[in-house]
């Protein structure tokens, strides 16, 4: 298991000499594509934001490369714009990869100008009146700080400071490539044709599950359907790709992003153009506007901010789930095209007759003085096969619908977190104004000789008490049916519910009263809190 360090052939050839003679080879377009989309790592529920896709994808491309003998610079074109260069993996090449390079310098007016500094160039001046063009041979001396200084046979001048239409004519081949390029320097002893796999992580993707739950007429069961919604905000499309999505949170380290150059305009800043008039000339305003945009770097997300153009809904064939380590992988059944700036939906699941219970919920705080408030309603089920579920449910957004007069109407939109099999599924339905909870602090006693009004709860030891508090809770139900309500009590450290006129349970470490309120009735609950001090027994 000794490390086989890939000591690169330390032959007495210098890369430079090799690189100078390196044959430029372009890999053929992908034969086969696979895209695996991962969710935004920071999002634990809810749907994707098409204007800022914060997830990512693993893209794998199978390409044919034909390498001549010797050193070649192998270029891969048409990779995703959001490629993370550090993550590039190339397999299938003959051994002898010298280096992988990613050049972020791209062609733009300013980079073209920068590449032409100190080189001969033609200045073109057009007469506004006659349209006649004068061409002068010259040389660009400087493009520093957005101003351009050039030299002709006449002397030194500055671009566009004269008020004349002036521009440069560049030679073909000046400046860098149009898009960031990915290349590999590889040395092969003989000419080879091989099939290589290029895989990399790319930003500008995201996915989420979009559930829709439809309640039955009696409210005792629901049908649950879900889409996988995935989107690509890259400028690159992935035609006929094997497409997967992965559920579960994966670690991403915040990393310094590779250098990027978005390019810029030729600004042609001039000398001060003040005049004796206090109305700024039109031209000057343009110059200021140009200055304001200088140095502004468009974030990739802003570039991706353009609204996605299409939403594709593919035919209803469900995705296939498989285990991937501790994550869940969902495979889109057929090859599909993950287009540029497109969101796509594939069916995740369709289940019906899932039994649900409706529970109202309120939490009571001993200290807080809170007037009457509405209870929250939640729908509960358990993710088991007996309940016609029993499948992992990836996080996303859920829309709950109910039938009314033959129409399916929206009741509530809420979020779902990643739910494993056998976990409790809880759909938050928002607050229910028909069920109101009123909290009254009835009495607060510091003296323990009073306030022994209610029966002592079983298992409670009396301690020396400094403070006791009596609470009265009124729960009113304006619905035509009886309801179940769970009232949980938030206690301060050392506090305890010692007396109550209704049975007390416990959930997640908190005391809970589970009560049934008959239709159109008000129920009154009383309980007494005790703040412990020293126990008598100790």
């Amino acid at each position: 298991m000794r490390a086989r360090r890939e000591i690169l052939a330390a032959a007495f050839t210098c890369i430079h000499a090799a690189a100078a003679s390196a044959a430029d080879v372009t890999a053929e377009p992908p034969l086969d594509l696979a895209v695996t989309v991962y969710r935004a790592p920071a999002r634990s529920g809810g749907s994707i934001d098409l204007d800022a896709l914060r997830g990512f994808a693993l893209v794998s491309e199978t390409r044919v490369v034909r390498l001549p003998a010797g050193v070649s610079r192998l270029r891969f074109e048409g990779v995703a714009d959001g490629i993370e260069a550090q993550s590039v993996i190339i397999t299938g090449l003959p051994p002898g990869i010298l280096e992988k390079n990613r050049d972020a310098k791209v062609l733009s007016p300013s980079s073209l100008l920068a590449a032409t500094v100190d080189k001969p160039v033609e200045l073109e001046r057009t007469d506004r009146k006659t349209g006649q063009t004068e061409r002068v041979a010259g040389m660009i001396l400087s493009d520093a700080d957005g101003g351009v200084v050039f030299k002709t046979a006449e002397g030194i001048e500055a671009l566009r400071c004269s008020g004349l239409p002036e521009t440069f004519r560049f030679e073909p081949g000046d400046g860098p490539a149009a898009r960031p390029s990915l290349s590999v320097l590889v040395r092969t002893p003989t000419a080879t044709t091989s099939q290589v796999t290029l895989s990399y992580l790319s930003r500008g993707f995201d996915w989420a599950a979009d559930y829709s739950a439809t309640l039955s007429a009696d409210g005792r069961s629901m049908a649950l359907g879900a889409w996988v919604t995935l989107a690509n905000s890259n400028g690159t499309a992935f035609p006929s790709a094997n497409t997967q999505v992965v559920a579960g949170r994966v670690n991403r380290e915040t990393d310094s992003v590779e250098p990027l150059d978005f390019g810029g305009p030729i600004l042609a800043n001039c000398w001060p153009r003040g005049s004796t008039s206090d109305i700024p000339p039109q031209l000057l305003r343009f110059a200021y506007a140009a200055k304001a945009t200088r140095g502004m770097v468009a974030a990739p997300s802003a570039m991706m901010g353009e609204a996605l153009q299409e939403v594709m809904v593919s035919a209803q064939r469900n995705v296939a789930e498989e285990q991937l380590g501790d994550l869940k992988l969902y495979r889109v059944p057929e090859r599909t095209t993950v287009s540029s700036r497109q969101s796509k939906q594939v069916r995740l699941l369709d289940r019906s007759a899932i039994p649900i219970t409706t529970v109202y919920r309120a939490s009571l705080s001993a200290d807080e003085i809170r007037p009457t408030f509405a209870a929250d309603r939640v729908l509960r089920s358990v993710n088991t096969q007996a309940n016609h579920l029993g499948v992992p449910l990836p996080s996303g957004r859920v829309a709950v619908f109910a039938w009314h007069d033959g129409q399916r109407l929206l009741l509530r939109e809420s979020n779902v977190r990643d739910l494993a099999v056998k976990e409790e599924l809880e759909l938050d339905m928002g607050s229910a104004p028909d069920v109101q909870v009123a909290v009254v602090h009835e009495a607060l006693q510091i003296d323990s000789t009073q306030a022994k009004l209610l029966p002592l709860l079983p298992g409670v030891t009396l301690r020396r008490v400094r403070r006791e508090q009596m609470e009265r809770i009124q729960i009113s139900n304006a619905r035509a049916a009886s309801i179940q309500i769970e009232l949980s009590v938030d206690l301060n450290d050392g506090a305890e519910v010692i007396r109550a006129d209704h049975p007390l349970g416990s959930k997640n470490g908190r005391p809970v009263f589970k009560l049934t309120i008959p239709a159109q009735r008000t129920l009154i609950l009383r309980y007494q809190l005790q703040y412990q001090t020293l126990s008598k027994s100790r």
């Binding site: 298991m1 490390a3 360090r5 890939e6 000591i7 210098c14 890369i15 430079h16 000499a17 991962y38 693993l58 260069a85 550090q86 590039v88 993996i89 990869i97 280096e99 992988k100 390079n101 050049d103 972020a104 310098k105 007469d127 009146k129 400087s142 700080d145 957005g146 101003g147 200084v149 002397g155 500055a158 004269s162 008020g163 997967q244 949170r249 994966v250 670690n251 380290e253 590779e258 250098p259 800043n269 000398w271 001060p272 153009r273 003040g274 005049s275 004796t276 008039s277 031209l283 991937l324 380590g325 501790d326 992988l329 992992p392 990643d418 056998k422 450290d493 050392g494 470490g509 126990s535």
Partner: protein, 460 residues
């Protein structure tokens, strides 16, 4: 490999001496955005005092770190000119001097040429033409301004110039060395985990980035795993407890290995010379190891008194060794390790990544890659009781669930014990990993649940 190459440098402009330079660049790149550039070239010198200009140095050069050494040459002074040639500077430097102005008649295109003296360039250009004073282009009509020459100190790029005295004329080898930010490197690892055999294959890549504004042609490159800057890695001292990130190296190694060292830094020389272009990210392989045993486990860390109404995912953790015996067999420079695993079709899929620090050989690494979908823990503070004025009892319950079809072991860690907290009762034996943290290895059966309870007595 040390042979020097005849590669033509970019441009070494010697006023009066036009000699093509034989050039060889050596780069030493550190982790913390710093590089030492040693630029050796043949320069042709006259006898006596002269100025050498070096235009093709790093655009972010730290001029105070420049040294030029050459035989039989004494340095008079070193200057770094960062006054850039722009139209505004050109006009500013022309104040008091004559320029040619060319007026263009917008109707006819006729040109009228005049000599003018620049009087001021403050917020606008004031000219004296003959006996008249005029504001340049006050009327908005086109006027070209033609200057005779570029002032001495203005350049398109910041330029280093050194005034030297040569003892005798002739060509000699000079070394220009300086520090510059803008060059940096880190390691990137690709780990493919095979669940069946419990082994990983790891490839290590050196990733270096150049955003210094300059291209280094055909450079002999040495990477130093470390940063010589004093303030690069020292965190602030705090007497208060902080929530620490989970340790990625539970057992630091003690093996030495055969890598070259410089002080306490490991060195990674690139085997061949390479050209590092501006705005380029370059990757070179330095490690390729197959079949290292790795362990897949689960961890859950709970903060003191943290309670949750919903079950929280445990972390997926992979551990392996960097030892020469049963491990990667190498020191690991700091970087990011990306884990992959094959799906049912055999295609590698990404399953998460973790940052690692500079790690000596022989260490045990334990890296969290993400959350386990199916393994969850619900921590619950079930009771808090006051035993006496300064003593509290806290009863904790941890409900574990496992939706995987196999048994798993979750390391449940309760932190925040600070040292004065005792465990008075527990449903299974704990290990006190530190004064602050207790750990239980809880087995959760396949498709089942498990429960862990513990009572803590703490004082405050």
């Amino acid at each position: 490999m040390r042979q020097l190459l005849i590669c033509v440098g970019l441009s070494l402009s010697l006023p009066g001496v036009a000699a093509p330079a034989e050039r060889s660049i050596a780069l030493t790149i550190y982790n913390g955005d710093l590089a030492l550039v040693q630029d050796r070239r043949d320069i042709d010198l006259k006898e006596g005092r002269q100025r050498l200009e070096f235009a093709d140095v790093s655009a972010q050069i730290r001029p105070e770190t420049v040294t030029l050494t050459a035989p039989d040459v004494s340095i008079v002074e070193q200057n770094f000119d960062f006054d850039l040639l722009t139209p505004a500077k050109l006009m500013e430097k022309a104040v008091g001097q004559e320029v040619t102005i060319v007026r263009i008649n917008p109707a006819t295109g006729a040109q009228e040429r005049e000599q003018a003296q620049v009087l001021a360039a403050n917020g606008g250009v004031v000219l004296r033409i003959g006996q008249r004073i005029e504001v340049l282009r006050d009327d908005g009509l086109p006027v070209r301004v033609i200057f005779d020459k570029v002032p001495d100190n203005l350049r398109a790029r910041p330029t280093l110039s050194v005034t030297v005295v040569g003892a005798h004329a002739g060509t000699r080898r000079a070394t220009l060395s300086y520090l510059t930010p803008g060059l940096s490197w880190k390691a990137d690892y690709v780990a493919l985990f095979d669940e069946g055999s419990g082994k990983i294959d790891v490839q290590g890549w050196i990733t270096l980035t150049n955003s210094s504004g300059t291209t280094y042609e055909n450079a002999q490159t040495l990477l130093v795993a470390g940063s010589p800057n004093e303030d690069a890695d020292a965190g602030p001292y705090s007497p208060y407890r902080q929530v620490r990130a989970r340790p990625t190296v539970p057992n630091p190694g003690t093996e030495s290995g055969s890598r070259e060292r410089l002080g306490d830094f490991y060195l990674y020389p690139l085997a061949e010379r390479t050209t590092i272009a501006n705005l380029q990210t370059k990757q070179v392989s330095f490690m390729d190891v197959h079949g290292v045993p790795a362990e897949h486990g689960y961890e859950f860390q709970n903060q003191w008194l943290a309670t949750s109404d919903t079950a929280l995912s445990a972390s997926t953790v992979y551990s392996f060794s960097s030892s020469a015996h049963g491990g990667l067999g190498d020191q690991l420079p700091a970087g990011i390790l990306r884990f992959y695993m094959r799906d049912k079709r055999g295609d590698p899929q990404f399953i998460g990544e973790s940052r690692i620090d500079h790690t000596p050989m022989g260490s045990t690494l334990s890296l969290a890659t993400g959350d386990a979908f199916d393994v969850k823990v619900k921590p619950i503070v079930s009771k808090r009781t006051r035993n006496s004025t300064f003593s509290w009892q806290t009863d904790m319950r941890y409900e574990l669930s496992n939706a995987l079809p196999r048994d798993v072991v979750v390391r449940v860690r309760q932190s925040g014990l600070w040292g004065d907290t005792h465990i008075t009762a527990e449903s299974q034996k704990s290990v006190r990993r530190s004064a602050d943290t207790a750990e239980w290895a809880v087995t959760v059966p396949a498709n089942g649940t498990a429960s862990l309870t513990a009572s803590f007595e703490s004082r405050y």
